[in-house]
């Protein structure tokens, strides 16, 4: 129970100012000395000296204003970003919940997209095939599953996305603002499934602006402000403090 699954030790993350070069080769060459100097020195600090741990089976919330560094933290956990300083260690299979329709192809049917998404998230085709019926059932998409997803409403897309990600037997589930979509019944179903994950001792990291779901789902929470940790502790206490501040 007490094994730590995700741990950050004095992690900082900064980016070079990529817009200096993504403007293009032409622009870069014309402003060469200035562009090189800026690129080497000016860095954008996204996270500064963050340390925390998420234990096995824990639901851990991250709150903070827009741009505080929540998504960067998730990116570091997911392994798509590397820390500039400090050590990030993560044990277990990660399953991220993607934003609406990410990784889906609009010309493929719902069923084909389940395979595409499942394999992208690290399963083999056989493993997806074993789960595909459960996923379709959970999504409640019915016969829409055989239609290209460009005809789906955004609520339906969200259902498909949540159904795939939550059916992959994740060991660590990363959730970035997903519950805001879908109708009430489906939202309710999502919360139920997350509760069942909780019972199954799946570790979850949850980013949300909804303080209600934060309190009801999370055991502990971290408040990030100005790219650094403002407070870590019991979810209720952190949320209370955060609400008072803002």
């Amino acid at each position: 129970m007490s094994e730590s699954i995700v741990s950050f030790e004095h992690v900082s993350k900064s980016y070079p100012q990529y817009h200096q070069i993504t403007g293009g080769i032409k622009q870069f060459l014309f402003n060469l000395p200035k562009a090189v100097r800026l690129f080497k020195t000016a860095r954008y600090l996204a996270l500064h000296d963050i340390s925390f741990e998420v234990k096995q089976g824990e639901t851990f919330g991250i709150i903070g204003r827009n741009g505080a560094g929540k998504s960067t933290t998730l990116g570091l956990i997911a392994g798509v970003l590397k820390s500039t300083i400090g050590k990030v260690s993560v044990k277990g299979k990660i399953s991220p919940l993607l934003e609406l329709g990410a990784g889906f192809n609009s010309d493929l049917t719902g069923r084909e997209n389940i395979f595409l998404n499942g394999v992208l998230m690290g399963l083999t085709r056989k493993e997806v095939a074993n789960k595909v019926d459960d996923i379709i059932e959970f999504s409640e998409l019915g016969e829409f599953i055989e239609q290209p997803i460009r005809v789906y409403s955004s609520g339906m897309l969200a259902r498909l996305g949540f159904s795939v990600a939550s059916s992959l037997d994740p060991e660590i589930l990363l959730i970035d603002e997903i519950l805001a979509v879908g109708d009430i019944t489906f939202q309710h179903k999502c919360v139920e499934r997350m509760m069942s994950f909780k019972q199954k001792k799946v570790t979850m990291v949850f980013v949300s602006h909804s303080m209600e779901s934060m309190v009801s789902l999370c055991d502990r929470a971290m408040w990030i402000e100005n790219h650094t940790v403002k407070m870590i502790g019991d979810a209720k206490a952190v949320v209370k403090e955060f609400v008072n501040q803002s």
Binding site: G75, V80, K82, E99, G103, L108, V119, G122, L174
Partner: protein
Amino acid sequence: MNRKVQHFIDLVLVLTQKDLKVRYKSNILGYLWSVANPLAFAFVFYVAFKVIMRIQMEAYALFLIAGLFPWQWFANSVSVTPTVFLSNASIIKKVNFPRNIIPFSIVLQDMLHFIFSIPVIVLFMLIYHKLPHWSWIYGIPILLIVQFVFAYGISLFVSSINLFFRDLERLVGILITLCFYFTPIIYPLEMIPDKYQSLVNLNPMCPLIISWRNLFFYGKVEWMYIFISLGYGVLALLIGYAVYRKLSWKFAEVL
């Protein structure tokens, strides 16, 4: 089989299947549409050079197609790849999967498409009373691999760099056009003036296209050209992969 290998294969399969499905929409009309493009090019060049400028060549239509089809594979792959990571930004930012899969499956998909179009070449051969040669059995697979390695190397390089310098895409478009006219596709190698003949092998696509055409036209496998092409291929792959390795962990930052 090792799970990692199995997963890599499945990723390639799923992505390639996706592209093929989107491209062909699983029907014969989809297939016709996708060979229509190189055929239209062939028609234009045929009219311009055979009908109007009256180039003195036997079977010029077949000659064009035998060079244009493999060229299209290369050009399609390389002109799409600059933006492949950009168009998959949402998933790259969230999921940690081997990103080189994306250009890999694109080059593979264009290769399959080229293979599907070989019957069209055969059709033109029959029109000119030529028959497929037994050397195709080993010649085609060898050239497929050589061109795949080269196109994949270039694609890796271009797709990785383009994330950082987003106007590379335009440059690539220009370079592909230049390369097309500097490669003996619409004219034979022999027409190039003697003083420039020595420059021919500096163009990596040149020995490759010559090899393809020799194979389709005469059933000839000329090892010298194939080895030069392979050399370029390995070089492109080494450079492309090194650049990709160096930059890939920054993809999620820059997107």
